[in-house]
Symmetry: C2
Subunit: 288 residues, 2 copies
Amino acid sequence: MFVHRFLILTTIGLLFATVLNVQGKAIITVADSSSEHTDTDLENLPEIPVFGHTNPDTDAIGSAIAYTAYLREHKTNAKAYRLGTLNKETLYVLNYTGAEMPPLLPDNIANGSQVILVDHNESPQSMKNLKYMQVIRVVDHHKIGDLTTVFPVYLRFEPVGCAATVLAKTFFENNFKIKRTIAQLIISAIISDTLYFRTASTTADDHYVVEKLQGISEIKDLEAYSTEMFKAKSDLSGYTTRQILLLDYKSYVFNGQSWGIGVADTWYPDFLFNLKKLLAQSLAGLKM
Amino acid sequence: MFVHRFLILTTIGLLFATVLNVQGKAIITVADSSSEHTDTDLENLPEIPVFGHTNPDTDAIGSAIAYTAYLREHKTNAKAYRLGTLNKETLYVLNYTGAEMPPLLPDNIANGSQVILVDHNESPQSMKNLKYMQVIRVVDHHKIGDLTTVFPVYLRFEPVGCAATVLAKTFFENNFKIKRTIAQLIISAIISDTLYFRTASTTADDHYVVEKLQGISEIKDLEAYSTEMFKAKSDLSGYTTRQILLLDYKSYVFNGQSWGIGVADTWYPDFLFNLKKLLAQSLAGLKM
């Protein structure tokens, strides 16, 4: 049996009336079936950077490291990167877990390179030249912005509290063996993004993932651990007002206008209220 | 313990230097946890249309029906629709499976309504006014085009041969009990999109889903069934050349130019080759 497939193309500017016998086009994909391989095998494959948004938070960093670990088990030479300086909470988490700080993404990534995004998808929050890259995977929990691709793509977006929650669900589905460090990073990311299950964005899935991973993580007292994380983040001493504004700052385009949204979490609100005037002055300097 | 969260907003045109104490915003989502409920309970919820692309094929229709069945088990008043006339292959499949033909999507869907897309994501292939709707879920296997949302969204894109393959994977992950009709529709969609595993877009996942569902589907001879599907599709008699061009026709924007890509599958290539001149004339009439 043989089925003929015909492609008929039209365009506004130009008219093609050719009837073509098409062979089909290859799709670049990442194998989802795990198998035995060594790091040396992987190094022969092109490196694929994995990174979260600029002004990285604990989810952006933790998800990049966790997804990299998963992808390297699935025949992908993934490498975690960061797009900026880490805040004190994330530094505390890396120190606690013993995970290595991902290096800064170099600014000479060749056009057309494959890249993988976590915890963001909009170009104003990503690497420069994102539009010249081939985005092959995105795992996120935000609205979808200006992402487009030329090839079919792997996307996994869920409206949950944290990108690491979505990642953990895919790990469970694919029976990925989650190690202690990765479990700690996922739990830390969820605690950070949901302010330990306090935000309105918190879902049952965020609770479920933390409960399921707590044993592996060996974090006995989650409440105490989250307090240590927030204390680290609350230490805004040593930051300029401009640095405070940019701690967790994301850019968006709404109705053709560029907006920036910055968040500063602290246990010591008076510290920020006393800086109100200086913060306002620094804001003016952020206008692009 | 109480953590204060501060939001600092900037914009190009306008400068807000207000320091706000934010309560967080509600996220509209679809519950993913199944529980006992009746159709009467569902009817009290707003109806959410589920549909594939215009000029629907077997995947667009089968995935809309299958996803609707799943979502209705998960407290969502989903309803399957179609965006156009069915081709003869899809009519054959509906007749074989006994599934009801989804009605045409009405053209008076109120702006701001929630909608769910399968097997497409680009506005030129979707309902009119898609940009005024709230897209809450997309399950697809294509490149991502001009989709944007205001709220966090559920997206599941995988570079596999068929949207129904992605759906089936989510059904397996969530232990959804797949009935015979749904299994038949999923298998038919995969056979249709991959030309029974012949296209370059075919993946191991497409094979896996068909193997896993064949028992439930009670389709004993897949080869014979696919032959019947393709014979039905190959029957291009009774179509005008314009209808042939539009049988499986999708619109794209590449580099600011509008392109249309149409596919006609047939066992009888001479039938189409003999129509070459007439097809070319009809193509001219399709220029927008």
